[in-house]
């Protein structure tokens, strides 16, 4: 794990609790993400997902611990780490196109205006936005279109790591579906690594190579790392028929429904490292060896 593309080492975040003391959001959290991997993180509201993401983005400093990307410690934000924020990440006074050129011009400062615009239009097109819609301001776009613009802006910059904070949280199920597919389309064929926060279990199964599960806060932990043993390319309507789908889904529901609370709030011993347990559920290896639902492999 120490040689992962992205390695999170003993991350601790504490905040003042407003009564003069401190509370610990998470402590000694450690995990790694490989290059090109799509990782989703699931956990209850308030457990510290956005906090982790902001630290990965370099937007805030952890109380303790380091994040290393390509072996170098992360300090401060960088164009190598693109972020799609949950809300308001578009600049409302710029048109959709200008919002994307804003990013592209920052990424490729030597390019001509035409080059910047061509690339922006191409990426907007990839997420299904073209025509006069790209000349409208965010306030004149639907929620789904806005989020498409954010995604286009992030991908157009070719960051090594893409961080998405509940990008589809405010969208209806139908729109979600189409944008999820667009996201997969844009991501596949790149070697970009994606770290995405979501509240939607089905979305996580559709998109991720691996799902990190967080226990409830305070003192939250990244308790498990669940491999999604469903081959790509995945299509929403087909994956539900895959033998692993419901097994994985049940496991996730069980965790979020029960065990996330049971495992919560354990104070760790000094210097202890909390790495997630790898969970691999695979029912396709033949009914003969009668797999238990949960096969835990300690790493």
């Amino acid at each position: 794990m120490a040689n992962s593309f992205l390695s999170i080492e003993k991350l601790t975040q504490r905040y003042p609790d407003g009564k003069g003391g401190e509370f610990t959001v998470f402590e000694n959290a450690s995990f790694g993400i490989e290059k090109g991997e799509f990782v989703c993180i699931l956990g209850h509201s308030g457990c510290g997902k956005s906090t982790i993401m902001n630290i990965l983005a370099g937007l805030s400093e952890p109380t303790k611990g380091v994040v290393k990307m390509d072996g170098f410690a992360v300090s401060g934000p960088s164009l190598d780490r693109g972020v799609v924020f949950q809300n308001y990440s578009l600049l409302p006074w710029l048109t959709a196109l200008k919002n994307v050129t804003f990013g592209v011009a920052a990424r490729f400062p030597d390019w001509t205006k035409q080059q910047v615009e061509d690339r922006s239009i191409a990426f907007l097109d990839k997420v299904g936005l073209s025509g006069d819609a790209i000349h409208r301001k965010p306030s004149q776009l639907s929620g789904g279109m806005r989020q498409r613009v954010s995604i286009a802006r992030a991908f157009a910059n070719e960051p090594k790591l893409l961080l998405l904070d509940e990008p589809f949280g405010a969208l209806d199920a139908l729109t979600r579906g189409t944008i999820q597919e667009e996201l997969l389309k844009v991501w596949s064929g790149t070697d970009q690594t994606v770290f995405m926060i979501t509240h939607d279990i089905d979305e996580a199964i559709l998109l991720a190579d691996r799902i990190l599960l967080m226990t409830n806060g305070p003192l939250a932990r990244v308790a498990e790392s669940v491999e999604i043993t469903i081959p790509r390319p995945r299509v929403r309507t087909d994956i539900v028929e895959h033998p692993n789908y419901y097994a994985i889904r049940n496991h996730l529901v069980q965790f979020l429904g029960k065990r996330s609370a049971e495992l919560a709030g354990q104070v760790s011993a000094e210097g202890e490292t909390h790495s997630p347990q790898t969970v691999r559920i695979d029912k396709t290896r033949g009914a003969a060896d009668e797999q238990p639902l949960l096969q835990a492999v300690k790493t």
Binding site: S78, R81, W93
Partner: protein
């Protein structure tokens, strides 16, 4: 009536009110004029019939306006200049003082908005200086600057600085952190962030401050010019009052209103240009 749009109906009402107002004014003046027919000898002696001293009817004001506006830029000595020249002086002073204030208030407001230390350090001064009537500075300005022209500009400067300073600080401090984070994740430097993110985000609030300031500056210039004299619309009003030429006084009052409205409308236009919907 229902067939007409709201705007048209409002316009009809405005015109009707104007006509009624002017008629009432005109008629009340002519009623007074009839009264002068029955003046006592004493009243005649004390000059109560002097037409000049009475409030003129709107028709007279209109004639005066026509005369003045058909030749606004004549210059026949220090006490007899066209209305265009007088207003020109006033606008020149207002804009000079105003832009000097903007040059200082907007960058300083940025600083105060960005840094809470700067805000806390400067706030006591602002709170004490802001409520001072700009005209209260006049004697000090005249004494120190020793020049009435520059003193008038200084008074405009001091009165227009506060709304711009406070609104800029307020607007900059209120810029969404998410937007600043967008700039940070794109590795924009401090200046680039200030110009491409903070300035457009705070622009509506800043322009509102600028609009308030220009309004105050136009209010204050009239009073300031009455004090310093020489030129300008404020001086003109006062001068015509001394001449007991009420027709000119009323005409210039109207002109002050019209120019103030135009200045405000210009900033209204700017405000609409920088507005955005979140």
């Amino acid at each position: 009536m229902d067939l007409l749009s709201e705007n048209k109906r409002a316009a009809i009402w405005s015109i009707a009110l104007l006509i009624v107002g002017l008629l009432v004014w005109e008629m009340s003046i002519s009623a007074q004029a009839i009264n002068t027919g029955e003046l006592t000898e004493y009243e005649l002696l004390t000059g109560a019939d002097t037409a000049k001293a009475g409030v003129p009817p709107p028709s007279e004001v209109a004639v005066k306006a026509w005369q003045e506006l058909s030749n606004p830029f004549y210059d026949a000595g220090p006490n007899d200049k066209g209305i265009g020249i007088q207003i020109g002086y006033s606008i020149y002073r207002v804009l000079t003082g105003y832009f000097l204030a903007a040059i200082i208030a907007i960058p300083l407001g940025f600083l105060i908005g960005m840094s809470s230390v700067a805000y806390k350090a400067l706030n006591p001064f602002i709170q004490v200086l802001r409520p001072i009537s700009p005209l209260a500075w006049m004697p000090l300005a005249l004494f120190i600057i020793q020049d009435s022209e520059a003193s008038a500009i200084f008074v405009i400067f001091i009165c227009s600085i506060w709304p711009m300073l406070l609104n800029t600080a307020f607007g900059v401090a209120g810029v969404r952190e998410d937007w600043v984070n967008v700039a940070r994740t794109h590795e924009l430097g401090a200046f680039k962030t200030a110009f491409t993110v903070v300035l457009p985000a705070a622009a509506p609030t800043i322009v509102t401050g600028m609009r308030i300031s220009i309004g105050i500056a136009w209010l204050v210039i009239v009073a300031a010019e009455m004090l310093v004299g020489g030129t300008g619309i404020g001086y003109y009003v006062w001068n015509e009052w001394n001449n007991l030429d009420l027709t000119s006084v009323i005409f210039s009052i109207l002109m002050i209103g019209v120019v103030g409205m135009l200045l405000d409308a210009a900033f209204g236009l700017l405000q609409r240009r920088v507005a955005y919907v979140e």
